[in-house]
């Protein structure tokens, strides 16, 4: 589900009202500080590269930041801030088998990947890390690439909780 606008990202508000820091940015800095200072074992940073035997996209960036590359067409709460991760659902939810798709460029290798935004369903709004980006998003009459739709479909409940971003392929000629 890619629903809400960057308008809940307080950057916009900041630039308008002169407030110094946006909420999500503060959360982001807070987390990084936790990594550096606290040295927590559960830091969700990804390996920078993986072996060639099991090819996966090279990675850089923070998967709990709205700026992370996979989220180029997402709209919703990032599951990594909700007890899940960028590609898994929080406990007690159900992952929608039907999704919308984004085509996002990975800055680590310059390639474009097909990203499936599987929603996690059956609980109410997670409420954390609301993120909306609309690259390649199209209106609801083109549903496979529309993030205005609640994709909690084919699940036992259609209640929306958060969204994942799962790489399912590379895009040709992008």
């Amino acid at each position: 589900m890619k629903w809400l606008d960057g308008w809940l990202d307080k950057t916009t508000e900041s630039s308008v009202r002169g407030i110094s820091q946006k909420t999500s940015r503060r959360g982001f800095l807070g987390k990084i500080a936790g990594v550096v200072i606290g040295g927590a074992a559960t830091v969700p940073l990804l390996p920078v590269a993986r072996s060639q035997e099991n090819p996966a996209p090279a990675e850089e960036g923070d998967p709990n930041s709205c700026e992370y590359w996979r989220y180029c067409a997402i709209d919703g709460f990032l599951c990594g801030c909700c007890g899940g991760s960028m590609n898994s659902c929080p406990p007690g939810t159900e992952m929608s088998p039907i999704t919308w798709i984004g085509t996002c460029e990975n800055p680590a290798d310059g390639k474009s990947y097909i990203v499936s935004y599987n929603d996690c369903c059956g609980k109410s709004s997670c409420g954390n890390c609301l993120c909306q980006r609309n690259e390649g998003d199209r209106p609801v009459y083109n549903p496979r690439v529309s993030n205005d739709i609640n994709w909690c479909l084919g699940t036992s409940s259609n209640m929306y909780h958060c969204s994942t971003a799962i790489v399912i392929g590379t895009a040709l000629d992008e």
């Binding site: 629903w3 606008d5 609980k123 609309n134 609801v140 009459y141 083109n142 549903p143 209640m159």
Partner: protein, 384 residues
């Protein structure tokens, strides 16, 4: 029921106040419930708080947009569950809310209904149970429409198969479900008919018979490119003609007054204006009673900016295909609505999620309707 309760209440009070000097004072009446006029003043509006963080608890808040008194302007609200959709009747003092419930809140059996609200009481007076298929998505006027002189309500379904539920809203009866494969949403046509936008760049139209079954259908030619310069589904409809803005700032008129949609020639909203202006937002269009339409615009557009906040609202005369006014917003806005009177107000939700009011005739910012207990106002309706 109410009278009964008042009686119980009075008995309770008498027991309780036995020891007080009851005779010295006329007790104030209990059980008084406020009501609203059948015809609302033209500048009363309905703010749809979709409650994105608490979706089961959406609200339609009735506000007097002319008032600077925080409390006096708050007229009440009625609930709508899980990103509901609202439409108002012009011929009856009724409002219709399409909403979804589950037997255990966020889980359990699903029930979709159209709830009928009385404008005088803001209370539900009836409901029609629907197939549990209504589209769950961002609010959009074309999820729920009235046609055939407001005798028929049409509800868009997405499962992800697409269809339309046909409801006899006068007799409160579900009639039929019409599949519209490859197409989406409901745009009202003349008579007992609707149109839908299709992924292939066409528009489908469906004529219904007396029982709400499909009598006939037709397709337009391809008139837009759903990938490269798609039409926004958030059309402004003036005199039965739907004006669809495109991502890149054109507008395509489609006349819905005949038996089939009649696609007109596209023209540019931007003209020779520089700065990369494009339409964008949640609800990006509005109309007034004089035949103008309004588009929420932002500069420096790019791929993906089509839902970015707008900094201006541009006013167009569809007859002359020219911009006739531009209203600079004091704070960028994510969604817009209009009142329907001769001195219309422009209603927007700003990026702080407050409701700002502007006078169209002067372009003047009038006030911010804060203190309304809302979380995420995503749609703004003038009262009909």
């Amino acid at each position: 029921m109410l009278r009964h309760n008042i009686m119980k209440r009075l008995i309770f009070s008498l027991v309780l106040v036995t020891s007080s000097a009851f005779g010295q004072l006329q007790p104030e009446p209990t059980g008084v419930i406020e009501t609203l006029p059948e015809q609302w003043p033209a500048h009363w509006i309905i703010a749809h708080d979709a409650a994105f963080f608490h979706m089961s608890d959406g609200k339609f808040i009735v506000l007097d947009a002319d008032s600077d008194d925080t409390n006096a302007r708050f007229k009440g609200f009625f609930n709508g569950a899980f990103i509901p959709q609202l439409d108002q009747s012009k011929s009856r003092p009724e409002m219709y809310v399409v909403e979804t419930f589950r037997s255990r809140g966020n889980r359990g059996e699903r029930t979709d209904v159209v709830t009928i609200y009385d404008k005088r009481t803001l209370a539900p007076i009836d409901e029609v149970v629907l197939p549990p298929k209504r589209a769950s998505q961002m609010p959009n006027h074309y999820l729920l429409q009235l046609v055939d002189n407001e005798k028929i309500a049409l509800i868009y379904n997405f499962t992800p198969a697409t269809s339309v539920s046909v409801v006899d809203i006068v007799n409160r009866e579900f009639l039929n479900e019409i599949p519209i494969p490859g197409c989406s949403l409901v745009y009202p046509m003349a008579g007992r008919a609707f149109a839908s936008l299709c992924t292939d760049g066409t528009m489908l139209s469906v004529q219904l018979d007396a029982e709400g079954e499909q009598a006939s259908s037709s397709r337009t030619e391809v008139f837009f490119d759903a990938n490269n310069d798609p039409v926004m589904e958030k059309a402004a409809i003036v005199d039965g003609i739907a004006y669809f803005p495109t991502f890149l700032g054109r507008v395509i008129p489609v006349d819905l007054n005949g038996s089939e949609p009649d696609v007109g020639d596209a023209w540019s909203l931007v003209g020779d204006e520089e700065g990369g202006w494009r339409p964008g937002g949640i609800q990006v269009t509005g109309t007034d009673s004089s035949g103008h339409f309004y588009v929420l615009m932002h500069p420096d557009g790019y791929e993906g900016s089509h839902k970015d906040p707008g900094t201006e609202v541009w006013v167009f005369d569809p007859e002359t295909k020219r911009r006739v006014d531009r209203i600079a917003l004091q704070m960028p806005a994510i969604t817009m609505g209009m009142t329907r009177d001769d001195d219309p107000l422009l209603l927007v939700t700003n990026v702080n999620l407050e409701v700002d009011i502007y006078r169209v005739s002067s372009g003047e910012y009038l006030r911010t309707l804060d203190g309304i207990g809302a979380e995420t106002v995503l749609m703004l309706h003038g009262s009909e």
